[in-house]
Structure formats: C-alpha cells, structure tokens
C-alpha cells in the first residue's frame, strides 16, 4: 500500500470513528431515543419478576466470607443540621415515621425498632459501579412494620426518606436522598431496616441509625439514614418523580440488574 493510500485510509477510519462517537453522543442527548432505550428497563424487570419467585432469597454467605473492607458509598457523614443534632445525642431523639397510605401511622424510637421482629443475614452488596462487598446485617423486618401500620389497599410503593443531602446544588428541593420499592420487595423476607452491621451498631458511614437492605437489587436502592417510611399510590410528585435520588438522575428505578 502506498503511503498516500495508507494515510487516506487512516484519515477515513478516524473520521468514521469520530462520526460514530459524535452520533452516539447526539443520541444520548435525544429524549425520544432515550425513551426507546428505556423500554429495556421494563423488559428486564418484567422478565426477572416472571422467572423469580417473589420470596426467592438472595444468596446468604458464611461468617468467614464477610468483607474486611466493606466500601461505604454516597453520603459518608450527613452534614444536615437535623441529623447532626440526632447524632450528637446518639439518636435518643430519633423517631422512625411510618405514614402515608396507612391506617395506623407510627413514630418508633430506636428501642422500639430493635424490639420489632428481626432478621439477620450475611449478604453480598452489589454496587452499580461494579464492585461487591459482603456484610452481616441485623434489622427490623419491613413487612412486620408495614403490617403494624396497616397498609391501605391503594398503597403501591414504599418510599424511604433519608436524612442526608447528597446534592446540595439541587435548587428544586430534590437534593435529599430517597428511594422507593414496590410491595413485592417491601414484603420480601430479606427486606429489613438494618441497625446492626457485622454484629456492631450500624456505623454512620453505612447509614446509622437505620438503612434499608433490599437484597435483590443494587446498592443505591439500599437507602441509608432512613427517617421516614411512606406508603404511596404513585411516585409522581416525590423528588423529580422517578422514585429515587439516582433514578431522578438517569439510573434505573428497578435495579435488579
């Protein structure tokens, strides 16, 4: 091949490559195209729900498998004054609110949460970034708390409102962390509000005093610093309407994959 021809081919290859990339970047910004891509989330959720028993358990591990370097992510220490006050008095003034579409709203002290029916499990925590850590969790079964509050029949989702502002730059009031799950995951036996990690009191960087464990989904669903559990019929009007802090920022609401 002559040098000219080679140079021409290289140039043609490079410009085709950058056209392809620029095209992809354009499509990423195109809302119609994104809408098309988003159907895959519904397919994944539908397919997984179809082939998975609603009570099928996430794998549980042995004590020897527990990670010594369990990685905290998201907020490590909430700077919100209300949380700082609670933390300063070791959560003596903390109340877990359970409200929304329930017959019997609750406001539970930590002692009351610890006295509720509990479950202990050693599970793998899968971050959306790709890493995994294994930890031991003990917490109150969410199903028992919801039964005590008596869900109204129109309740479809359980929303977890958290104490931490993860995006201080959000001007629309959607900077606080929150997450939501449907009733299948809410009533799953491994879904707990954990107050213990690896046989010790849940550390602040992992979400003290309470964090959600929803073991068949990725880490960002496992809301930390949970203050309020709200039963709702629709996710509209909460945050930016997508059902969670990260879903509001483009991540899937269904994070089973």
């Amino acid at each position: 091949m002559s040098l000219d021809r080679r140079r021409w081919l290289a140039a043609a290859g490079a410009s085709l490559g950058s056209l392809w990339l620029a095209g992809c970047d354009k499509l990423v910004a195109n809302s119609t195209f994104n809408g098309v891509l988003k159907v895959a989330e519904k397919w994944s959720q539908g397919a997984q729900r179809l082939v998975t028993d609603r009570n099928a358990l996430a794998r549980e591990f042995a004590a020897a498998d527990i990670s010594k370097d369990f990685k905290p992510n998201g907020t490590m220490r909430p700077q919100d004054p209300a949380y700082q006050t609670l933390l300063a008095e070791n959560f003596a003034g903390y109340r877990l609110t359970v409200d929304g579409l329930v017959e019997q709203p609750l406001a539970l002290t930590l002692a009351e949460v610890r006295a509720a029916p509990s479950r202990t499990q050693i599970t793998r925590h899968d971050c959306v970034e790709g890493w995994s850590s294994i930890g031991k969790w003990k917490g109150a079964r969410l199903s028992a708390l919801l039964d005590r509050a008596k869900l109204k029949p129109e309740a479809r989702y359980i929303v977890f409102h958290c104490a931490d502002t993860l995006d201080p730059s959000a001007t629309d009031g959607a900077g606080m962390y929150y997450e939501s799950i449907d009733l299948i995951d809410a009533y799953h036996p491994q879904t707990i509000l954990a107050y213990q990690m690896n046989d010790a009191v849940l550390p602040v960087r992992h979400g003290a005093p309470l964090r959600l464990r929803v073991e068949r989904q990725l880490g960002y669903k496992h809301a930390k610093y949970v203050m309020r559990v709200e039963a709702v019929a629709s996710l509209d009007g909460i945050g930016r309407g997508q059902g969670g802090f990260w879903p509001d920022r483009g991540y899937e609401w269904y994070a089973g994959i």
Binding site: V28, L37, A40, S44, T52, D126, E129, I134, G250, E252
Partner: protein, 275 residues
C-alpha cells in the same frame, strides 16, 4: 467453453445469517463501547464473590510518578505505563482519570447511567438475535450443515495443511471455497457457541435479581466478581476475533466477502461447466 475456468456466483449466506450478522455487528459494537463506559465506573477486576479493593488483579488509574501524572495499568504483579490510553487520557492539558479513553466508550463522556441504559437495551437485542440464530441454525440445519467440521476436515493432516495455508494467506479457491474451511468452522463455532453465550451468562450472573432466580449459575463462574472478570475477558476475546475476522475479510477478497454478507451471493472460480 466447457473447460475454461469460469466465475460463478453461488448462494453463500442465507437471509437469516445475513440479518442476524448485521444486527450482531450493531449490538456487539455498542455493547463493547457501553460496556467500557460501565467498566470505567470502577476500573478494577477481582476474582471470587467480593472485591478485594487493595488487591485487584487488574486496575487502571492515575498515579503521580516523579511529580507527573501518569496512567498506570496493573495486571497481576505487573505495572505498565499506559498514559494517554488507559488510566489517564484525553487531550494534552485536559487529561482525566478514566479506565478506557473517551474514543472507546459510549457515551464518550463519563456517564454510568447512560452507559447502562445503552448496554441493557442492546443486550436484549443481542440475546434475542442470538436466540433466533441458534433456533434457526439448529432447526434449519445451518449449524449441522455449514458449521460442524466434517470428519475429513478434522483429520490432523488436513487440519495442519489448512493452518499452514492460512499462515501463508492462501485461501481456498474454486470448489473448496463453496463451504467454510475447517479453521473458519472452528472459529465461528467458538464464537457463536462459546463466547457469545458466555457473555449472556456472565452478564446475567452480575444481576442480583437474577442471582436470586437462578443461584446455581453464578457458582459456575465462582462468584460475582469472577463473573465480571470473565465477562471482561470474553469481551476481549470477541474484540480479538473481530480484528482477525476483519483482516481476513479484507485479505481474502473484501468486496466478494462483503457482497456475500449483503446479497448472499459469493463468487467462486470453477473449472468446467458445473455452476
């Protein structure tokens, strides 16, 4: 003129092969690039169930070396300076810490959420396309007829001969070119029966929802982090296949090969009057 060599067009690829091939080109290229975007969210690989953050077996990151930022890639105990490509890349003066460079990812800028959305959409396309190919390939006889090597082709003598011919870039001509040669058959089988299904299986193994549905699958790979590593390695195998495949397509007659994958017709030179 019955005895003069003549060029004839033969039916080479069926409609299903051609359509699934080009859908696969689209899906695999976007899966590779969105996959690297996802990899970049945590550019390190581990073996087993969990991440051992201090000891990844592969990592790509920015490090200060003698007061200067360099891209350092580690593989096992080996360290490589990969500045400009892996770990630390971008235009001079605007370099950033990222596993793979922007020209290799979709989107080109860092966005795990967008990368995932693309990856899962095209993963569905890829898996459905692969399933259609296999159902048709088994039911319609394509796999048995065109891909499984014949007994004669598997004889060591023939096999070695084919390897030697390939190495000298001498490709089958005439009647021999009507069917795939044994190296083609084995390579294609390796891709469609091993590498591509392995991508689906290791991909599904990384899904915590799917783990609960089918706990046995992840054990086949030795845990979620092993599955992620194998997913990455198998993708590398596909990239190597694509490079060699494209080279051979060009060297053995670019236009003839391309036409056969578009119109289905492939030109061969035959002696005598047999079309």
């Amino acid at each position: 003129m019955a005895d003069k060599p003549a060029k004839v067009l033969v039916r080479r690829h069926s409609g299903v092969t051609r359509v699934t091939h080009w859908l696969n080109v689209l899906a695999v290229s976007l899966l590779l690039m969105s996959g690297l975007q996802i990899f970049n969210a945590h550019p390190a690989l581990y073996w087993g169930h969990k991440s051992t953050f201090a000891e990844p077996w592969v990592s790509m990151k920015k490090e200060e070396v003698g007061g200067e930022a360099r891209g350092i890639t580690t593989v096992g105990g080996l360290r490589f300076d990969t500045t400009g490509v892996l770990g630390w890349s971008g235009k001079e003066g605007a370099r950033e810490q990222r596993g793979f460079p922007s020209w290799a990812t979709v989107p080109s800028y860092r966005s795990l959420a967008d990368g995932r959305r693309w990856h899962f959409f095209f993963a569905w396309l890829f898996a459905i396309n692969l399933a259609v190919y296999w159902l048709w390939g088994l039911a319609g006889g394509h796999v048995g007829r065109d891909l499984l090597p014949t007994r004669a082709q598997l004889k060591p003598r023939h096999f070695l001969h084919e390897i030697a011919a390939h190495a000298r870039l001498r490709f089958p001509k005439g009647e021999e070119a009507r069917t795939y040669n044994v190296i083609q058959k084995i390579t294609y089988l390796l891709v469609v029966a091993v590498l591509l299904p392995l991508m689906v299986a290791t991909g599904l193994s990384m899904s915590p929802g799917f783990n609960a549905a089918l706990p046995g699958l992840i054990d086949v790979f030795g845990g979620r982090q092993s599955a992620r590593t194998i997913h990455f390695l198998a993708a590398g195998g596909i990239v190597i296949f694509i490079i060699v495949h494209l080279l051979l397509v060009v060297l053995s007659g670019a236009w003839n090969n391309l036409r056969s994958m578009i119109t289905g017709r492939y030109a061969i030179t035959v002696e005598g009057d047999r079309p």
